[in-house]
């Protein structure tokens, strides 16, 4: 495994866990390295952004995405990288804002969103997102109207949630190929509008 940041406590904990997992015969060093190499080579928020942009321009795709996230991901060539989880897409609408958290750990669709930001794994975000999401969103700079309903999704089981943000005014007149660049990681988690 990478041997940098060895002085960081969490790195020491990860190393000890790896040693225990390997000693127990549950995995090998090479297998763990292969997982990480594959993850960093393929996991990116560009993937989720492409799905959202397609949903903005193709109502049929949007419908299929909301009905079966894995099948919709497969349409864009992402079948393999979402095969280990059930993908559930939830769409923002006028008057409804979705937001994703994992209160028990830090689950989210890594292969479509890239490695999670450190704040997503923080105790503060995990505990406050379910309790006072409006205040948390305001701290992210997203002030929602009082009448906008907030739906928080706690992804602590087998499903991984992807937020489909509403199509922004800035998308008007842009060619389809330019739309994914408008979709931010925060937009896909639901901590930002796009």
């Amino acid at each position: 495994m990478a041997d940098q940041h060895e002085d960081v406590p969490v790195a020491a904990r990860v190393r000890r866990l790896e040693e225990r997992v390997i000693a127990a015969g549950l995995a090998t060093d090479e297998a763990l390295d292969a997982v990480l190499t594959r993850l960093y080579a393929t996991a990116s928020p560009v993937n989720g952004a492409r799905m959202v942009a397609r949903a903005w321009t193709d109502p049929g795709y949007r419908e299929r995405l909301l009905a079966d996230g894995n099948a919709a991901a497969a349409e864009l060539g992402f079948a393999d990288i979402v095969s280990s989880y059930r993908l559930k897409a939830v769409a923002n609408e006028p008057g409804l804002h979705n937001m994703v958290v994992c209160t028990l750990c830090s689950c989210y669709p890594v292969s479509l969103l890239g490695p999670s930001p450190s704040w997503y794994k923080s105790l503060a975000y995990r505990s406050r997102a379910v309790r006072e999401p409006r205040a948390v969103l305001a701290e992210f700079g997203l002030e929602l109207p009082e009448q906008t309903e907030i739906a928080v999704w706690d992804a602590s089981a087998e499903s991984r949630y992807l937020v489909v943000p509403s199509r922004p005014d800035a998308a008007a007149g842009l060619p389809d190929d330019d739309l994914p660049a408008l979709v931010t990681l925060g937009g896909l988690i639901g901590t930002a509008a796009v």
Binding site: R86, K88, T103, V130, R131, R134, V152, S156, A157, E158
Partner: protein
């Protein structure tokens, strides 16, 4: 599936001494079934190395914030295994 969408369910007041995916903040709470997600192995069994683990339907269950926290207008939807739930009567 035991609980169709729209069913009011109450989560059990479990306090096991082993791993569970029933978050403490929704225990003993009434919520509504949003959808059935599919059958998955029960993490309580997997974490204890019980083989084979029980396989159960997982449901998305929506709770109103005001019930969970006494305040708030949002909802929180949590994925829960069937044995965590009973029909709210």
């Amino acid at each position: 599936m035991r609980f169709p969408p729209g069913t009011q369910v109450r989560t059990r007041l479990l306090d096991p001494d082993h791993h569970t995916r029933l978050p403490r903040y929704v225990r003993g709470q009434v919520g509504e079934i949003v959808e059935a997600e599919g059958v998955c192995p029960l993490p309580d069994d997997r974490a204890r190395g019980l083989a084979p683990p029980r396989e159960e339907m997982v449901y998305a269950v929506r709770f109103p914030a005001a019930a969970l926290w006494g305040t708030g207008t949002h909802t929180v939807t949590v994925d829960l295994w069937e044995s965590y739930l009973e029909e709210a009567g």
